[in-house]
């Protein structure tokens, strides 16, 4: 046993000392994702996105080889910081892609400020304040955030669906706050209502929704649900069993393939649910189809179709590689040239053109979808429309947008 430990320590020591002696024709890139805890499956898919981008570039950019080093967190900000610190300070990476979830993103943005010579690109974290307020000069988000993902949904619910009053059910943390804000802001501006006492906030991993279902008011036209993964399935099943019949409006990860693929009576129940997000599984576009085909070929044991996490990591990794190409892989200036190149970067992704605003947050296309029953009986998200060039401030000037205030459980008030 002691021998094993000794060997372990030796290996550790070797790793510790080998970092200084790396050849100069290699660029170290870190990828940080949630490989532990509740989001582990999503974390694995996000790394598939990183690998796809690397494979596309043949693991090199600007004439230099890319060495990928993976870090893992458990979706808590503490663990994200620890993993990032290890990648940056111990492994000596020069470019970091990650993290996955909203609160982690806020923490990594703060950490980025203490490491000005490292370039940070977001993974899929989608909290608004990561870039909107007190942004870090070296943190880039080529994927869009939760409020942008809702583009077009509020208008659609009010104008097309004719809903006037909605109840809100969402998980209680920064990402759903951002989503609720993104949906309610246009919805309420048009005249819709979302009373404060009809907003329900549940902890992540909540299993029992009976008290929420009992408290849902009868006089609402629809329920806006922003729950993810197992939480969404639990709510939908219990709501259906309780005889609920209010139509639903869904957040970006509420009616994804993991929910639509589940068996049972819930299926019929979600048909006709509108949603919006950065990807649409069924978008008939050559770039998107090629992306899905490449994903399926590279990862036969992955999801049927890339998740929005794989998509976001892919885009951010690709942006990093394009930036490295642009500077010829030269990071000798502490990455300043790379960051300048990234700020000016504009490129074509499987979901349309992406460029950055002045706070280094993406301006990209957003998809409005609706759940339909496909020809083979499977439920799929049908693309209703594509909103082009959605910016973080919904097209408003920055200062004016800040007047909306920080996203929270009561913003917008909608009374």
């Amino acid at each position: 046993m002691l021998k094993t430990l000794k060997k372990l320590f030796l290996v550790v020591a070797l790793i510790a000392f080998s970092t200084g002696a790396m050849a100069q024709d290699t660029i170290k890139m870190g990828a940080l994702a949630t490989l532990e805890g509740a989001f582990a499956v999503l974390g694995e898919d996000s790394l598939r996105g990183v690998q796809m981008a690397l494979a596309e570039f043949g693991n090199s950019a600007g004439g230099k080889n890319i060495e990928l080093i993976t870090g893992s967190s458990d979706a808590s900000p503490d663990s994200a910081i620890r993993a990032a610190r290890k990648l940056v300070e111990q492994d000596g990476i020069q470019v970091l892609v990650g993290p996955l979830s909203g609160s982690e993103g806020l923490a990594i943005k703060d950490y980025a400020k203490t490491q000005p010579n490292v370039t940070f690109l977001n993974g899929s974290s989608a909290a608004q304040d990561t870039t909107l307020r007190e942004s870090a000069e070296n943190f880039f988000r080529f994927s869009t955030e939760g409020a942008q993902w809702m583009a077009g949904l509020g208008e659609y619910a009010y104008n097309e669906k004719g809903y006037r009053t909605v109840a809100v059910l969402a998980e209680d943390y920064s990402f759903p706050y951002t989503q609720v804000f993104g949906f309610l802001e246009p919805f309420c501006r048009l005249g819709g209502k979302a009373p404060l006492d009809a907003r329900f906030w549940v902890p992540i991993g909540n299993k029992d929704y009976s008290s929420v279902i009992a408290a849902l008011p009868d006089d609402v036209d629809a329920i806006y649900v922003a729950l993810g993964g197992a939480d969404a399935i639990n709510f939908l099943t219990q709501y259906e069993q309780a005889g609920g019949d209010a139509p639903l409006i869904a957040g970006s990860i509420t009616v994804d393939q993991s929910v639509l693929g589940s068996k049972g009576p819930t299926r019929k129940f979600v048909v006709g649910t509108p949603s919006a997000g950065p990807i649409s599984d069924t978008w008939d576009n050559p770039n998107w189809n090629a992306f899905v085909a490449a994903y399926q070929e590279q990862f036969p044991d992955g999801f049927p179709s890339p998740s929005l996490f794989a998509h976001a990591y892919y885009i951010n990794t690709k942006a990093a590689l394009l930036g490295l190409e642009a500077v010829g892989g030269d990071l000798s200036d502490g990455g300043a040239a790379l960051r300048a190149a990234l700020s000016a970067l504009e490129f074509d992704t499987p979901t349309g053109m992406v460029k950055l605003d002045e706070r280094r947050n993406a301006i990209a296309d957003i998809f409005l979808t609706e759940v339909i029953e496909g020809p083979d009986g499977n439920l799929v998200n049908k693309t209703i429309s594509v909103t082009k060039g959605v910016s973080q401030t919904f097209g408003l000037p920055y200062d004016e947008f800040l007047k909306y205030g920080q996203v929270s459980r009561e913003n917008p008030s909608c009374e």
Binding site: V12, D74, R82, E89, Q90, D110, D172, Y173, P203, R409
Partner: protein, 356 residues
């Protein structure tokens, strides 16, 4: 006292064992020859986790009470620092001076720990674990859903240690020395307690509470006081932890982290205050580097297997491994001496391996 013999059987004769001096010199010189990463995230973090686990070791090793609420006491202290001191979240952050918040934070942790003790004091074994686990989980959910004081899921960020004597105490080297001093003081305190009248009574109560009661000792009071003392240690480590992370949120005190502390204490060894330190070093190294040794989808398996092997081969943890090795050498030497007709066998030397 078997604790004395851990370093050497001649502790009482010659004062301090040379091994202690070597370790002390190494720990003091450590930041000079390592990178900031090793100083801060490996060194300081190990010491903080070890100090929390030390408070558990004190309860479990000397009092026979396994409390899973030690991290909760540390977390309460950390939250108190964020709430009464300054944070960047815009919730609470009353901006009290640092020394006042630290004193209050540690007292809160001590009182909280005493409260946990008062609740669980009349239980034994698995029931103590259940009650303290319930308290830890309840506190976790409470802070996650309370937005007015604890700011719910997001918790607090931007918690900074004070700048004193012109030194910013979050810088790796000063912070390392800070944690080293606190850890050393805590360990010395646990040593001292273990040999004080109180500590001896506590160990006697661990071994036979009924006899101690009939001898006139106040068993619940001794136990609650042990909780109080361990709360002070855990609370101090909790203040360091929030300074280390710069933030605290429900995830910092979740059940998985509670279990981590238990793993550190058990893998290190519960019989001697050095145990949690060995456990914490092993834990932090594995947590940081297991992902480099093996495929990233399997690295948690490596961590689990390593700890499983330790506990499997040595129920006393890493300390037990050391004891066993030392014993082997000693037996060999004694055999040699015996052949020369010299009998130097310490009649108590086997005892520590038979007793749990």
């Amino acid at each position: 006292m078997r604790e004395q013999r851990w370093f050497s059987n001649s502790w009482s004769d010659s004062g301090i064992h040379p091994g202690v001096i070597v370790v002390a010199v190494f720990l003091i010189a450590y930041p000079w020859f390592t990178s900031d990463f090793f100083t801060f995230q490996i060194g300081a973090y190990s010491l903080i986790l070890a100090t929390i686990a030390l408070s558990l070791m004190m309860l479990a090793g000397y009092g026979g009470m396994i409390s899973l609420a030690q991290l909760t006491a540390a977390g309460l202290a950390g939250y108190t620092v964020a709430i009464l001191g300054e944070n960047s979240v815009g919730v609470m952050g009353l901006g009290w001076p640092w020394w006042l918040t630290v004193i209050i934070a540690i007292s809160f942790a001590a009182v909280f720990s005493s409260f946990v003790g008062a609740i669980s004091v009349r239980t034994e074994g698995i029931y103590t674990i259940m009650i303290t686990l319930a308290i830890a989980v309840a506190f976790f959910f409470f802070v996650r859903q309370n937005y007015v004081i604890f700011n719910g899921f997001t918790g607090f960020a931007g918690v900074e240690p004070p700048t004193l004597f012109g030194i910013y105490w979050r810088n790796p080297t000063p912070f390392y020395y800070l944690t080293l001093v606190i850890a050393a003081l805590s360990m010395a305190a646990v040593f001292y307690i273990s040999r004080s009248t109180f500590g001896l009574s506590l160990q006697a109560i661990r071994d036979n509470p009924r006899r101690m009661r009939s001898l006139g000792f106040n068993v619940p009071f001794h136990r609650i006081f042990a909780y109080f003392l361990s709360g002070i240690i855990a609370g101090t480590a909790g203040v360091l932890l929030v300074w280390f992370n710069g933030r605290i949120s429900p995830g910092s005190i979740g059940v998985d982290v509670v279990i981590d502390i238990l793993v550190i204490a058990v893998v290190g060894g519960l019989r001697h205050p050095i145990g949690p330190f060995l456990g914490a070093i092993a834990f932090v190294l594995l947590e940081n580097f297991a992902i480099d040794l093996i495929d990233r989808e399997r690295f948690n398996t490596v961590i689990g297997l390593a700890f499983l092997l330790i506990v499997l081969f040595s129920p006393d943890g890493m300390l037990g491994l050391w004891h066993r090795l030392r014993n082997k050498f000693r037996t060999a030497r004694e055999n040699r001496l015996a052949m020369n007709g010299v009998n130097k066998i310490d009649p108590h030397s086997q005892e520590s391996f038979d007793n749990p």
